[in-house]
């Protein structure tokens, strides 16, 4: 019985011991879920169709698209003026404005004007706060 529980761990391969156990457990649990919920999983196509049919596609994918563009542009823009945080500032202003516009329901001047002010003031304040008092370099 004692031999069955004995384990020798080779230090050189010790980085694989726990991940292997966890991967096996994860696989077994996934299999158990697959078996238990097979009907629900088989019918998931309809679930996803309903999800996409009911979602506000413009706002959801618009948010994803704007976020992706925001993250992608920050570093290249920042590289034009290195170590100044300008990439963050220059990209954040249009990002805040455009995503605010995307989330807005009634796009009237009365609604857009405060958004425009916030989209300039908020990124500028955050940029100033992190660049000067906190001494943290932004992209």
């Amino acid at each position: 019985m004692g031999n069955l529980t004995e384990v020798t761990i080779d230090f050189e391969r010790s980085h694989l011991v726990f991940p292997t156990i966890i991967a096996v457990v994860l696989g077994l649990l996934g299999l158990a879920i697959l078996i238990r919920d097979r009907r629900r999983i088989a019918g998931s196509g309809a679930y996803w169709r309903t999800t996409f049919a009911q979602m506000d596609r413009m706002r959801f994918f618009g948010t994803l698209g704007l976020t992706l563009a925001y993250f992608s542009l920050m570093v290249p823009v920042g590289d034009i003026w290195p170590n100044t945080g300008m990439g963050f500032l220059i990209c954040s202003i249009p990002f805040v404005f455009l995503s605010g516009l995307l989330f807005m329901h009634d796009r009237t001047l009365r609604q857009i004007a405060p958004l425009a002010i916030v989209s300039v003031v908020a990124p500028t304040f955050v940029w100033w706060l992190f660049t000067y008092p906190f001494f943290l370099t932004l992209p």
Binding site: E12, V17, A23, L29, G30, F60, T63, S99, F134
Partner: protein, 497 residues
């Protein structure tokens, strides 16, 4: 101790509580999101001042949820869900202000009871845990994971989510500083440069609780804000403390339930308030009045969810295991300052410990005073347009992720990956809280497990090391059996509350 209490320290608690109430009061925004967004602001504040801000946000965020729950019938935070049951009917009768004040007083009492428990038990538990070897430490984590999975709405899914969290946390190098061999694993080819140290905790948390929440709102079309006409505080019946006559037992019991639920890892405020509410209903002489504007229902719900605040800090500060998602974020504040939370934390950092207790006390008092005096103004918070708030929050999420490791762009991409992941989690009905706890505890679990085997060379050591190990196994088996019984009962009673 007293040198820590400076005007800045006090201002940060009060300011944090104020911002937390605003976050909690806006449906779709939570205390966790408030802490996630404000975490980067703690960089240059130092540990005590940073914690003052974050603990204020935590207490305020949990408390603020009662405002929309009572006035609009929409819980501001998940933990306020049962407040809607009786708060909203009272508001509809024109007694909104009375309902709000009942909730504020109950929140205050819940917060104080849980703070007392934290002050009393965390150092004792930590003193006890210092004696733990790698074996007991591993079993404690195993126990935490089983409790958390057992209390998930679906145990199998809960366990799967927790193990998935561990698996993702293992991506990267087996850390030499923890006794590992410094070799990489689970890294897809071509991503070694970015994933050498794995995914950072905070971008993961900010993605799951910040970006994912905004994606969920975007999916719903970012529901319109409320206008002032829809927010009726009412003034028909004024609040009097006499409403608490005969409710002391309910207050103490609900606060105790909230605190106990908080101590259990990975179980959120919604479980605390639901359990407190259902107990209040069961023990009430007039259970039929619940759901129709019964003050006892608001008292149970709000004292229960605020009881969570101190309770959730007990396992964090004594064992290094976060009690809920918001306290998981607090680990980030400690990490930023290079301090590891665990059994040695309180003994090695008595000033920080005292400052935390004091900050929690002041935060509860500040919450009570601000909300009690200015509740009519806080009620208007629900009218703040989301099209202004959400973009600013997204921008703050980016700042938080980017600055966590002093400027690594991959952390920003991590935020996006886990933001989308968090949205998918909800769609796939996976559980976020067990995932987070698994993600946080995974690397420690690995070190404790492998080191135990390296030292003793046998699996039986996990059963025979000490009496503590055996007690932990009893608790582990008890939590699994308990969850099976609970899930069978839940199937028999579809209307759980």
């Amino acid at each position: 101790m007293f040198e820590i209490i400076t005007p800045l320290f006090l201002s940060l608690i009060v300011g944090g509580t104020f911002i937390g109430i605003i976050f909690g009061a806006i449906p779709g925004m939570t205390a966790t999101m408030a802490v996630a967004v404000c975490l980067p602001l703690t960089y240059s504040l130092g540990l005590e001042n940073g914690l003052a801000l974050l603990l204020g946000l935590y207490v305020g965020g949990i408390s603020g949820g009662l405002v929309p729950a009572i006035l609009l019938g929409i819980p501001g935070t998940p933990s306020s869900i049962t407040t809607t049951f009786d708060g909203y009917p009272l508001a509809q009768k024109g007694e909104g202000e009375k309902a709000l004040r009942i909730g504020i007083v109950a929140s205050f009492v819940g917060g104080l009871v849980s703070l007392f428990v934290l002050w009393l038990f965390a150092p004792t538990l930590a003193d006890f845990a210092i004696k733990f070897s790698y074996v007991e430490k591993f079993l404690i984590i195993f126990f935490a994971l089983t409790v958390m999975a057992a209390l998930s709405s679906d145990m199998l899914i809960g366990i799967f989510s927790g193990v998935l969290g561990i698996f993702i946390a293992l991506i990267g190098t087996y850390d030499i500083s923890s006794g590992g061999n410094g070799k990489m694993r689970l890294i897809p080819p071509g991503t070694e440069y970015w994933l050498e140290t794995g995914f950072s905790l905070l971008p993961v948390l900010i993605g799951l609780f910040g970006l994912a929440a905004i994606l969920e709102q975007a999916e719903l079309g970012v529901p319109r804000g409320f206008n002032k006409d829809e927010v009726k505080v009412g003034g028909k019946s004024t609040f009097s403390f006499s409403v608490f006559r005969g409710q002391i037992v309910n207050l103490v019991r609900s606060s105790g339930i909230g605190t106990f639920v908080g101590i259990l890892p990975g179980v959120g405020g919604s479980a605390a308030s639901i359990l407190a509410y259902s107990n209040a209903k069961t023990f009430s002489r007039h259970p039929e009045t619940f759901g129709k504007g019964e003050p006892a229902g608001i008292i149970a719900s709000e004292s229960g969810n605020n009881g969570l605040t101190g309770g959730a800090l007990v396992p964090l500060l004594s064992l290094g295991i976060p009690g809920d998602s918001t306290t998981a974020l607090l680990i980030g504040a400690f990490t930023l300052q290079g301090i590891q939370v665990g059994p040695l934390f309180i003994g090695n950092n008595p000033d920080t410990w005292n400052a935390m207790i004091f900050a929690m006390l002041i935060a509860n008092i500040a919450m009570f005073v601000m909300m009690y005096v200015a509740i009519r103004y806080f009620a208007l918070v629900v009218t703040i347009p989301k099209h202004i708030l959400f973009p600013v929050i997204l921008m703050m999420c980016v700042i938080g992720a980017y600055t966590i490791n002093y400027g690594i762009m991959f952390d920003v991409w991590t935020l996006l990956i886990f933001g989308i992941g968090g949205w998918l989690f909800v769609k796939l009905r996976l559980e976020v809280a067990p995932f987070i706890i698994g993600f946080i505890l995974g690397p420690s679990a690995e070190v404790y497990f492998v080191k135990s085997l390296e030292s003793f060379g046998t699996l039986s050591i996990f059963f025979t090391k000490s009496w503590i190990a055996m007690v932990l196994w009893v608790l582990i088996i008890g939590s699994i059996l308990g969850s099976v019984v609970l899930s069978r009962r839940a199937k028999g009673q579809p209307d759980g509350v």
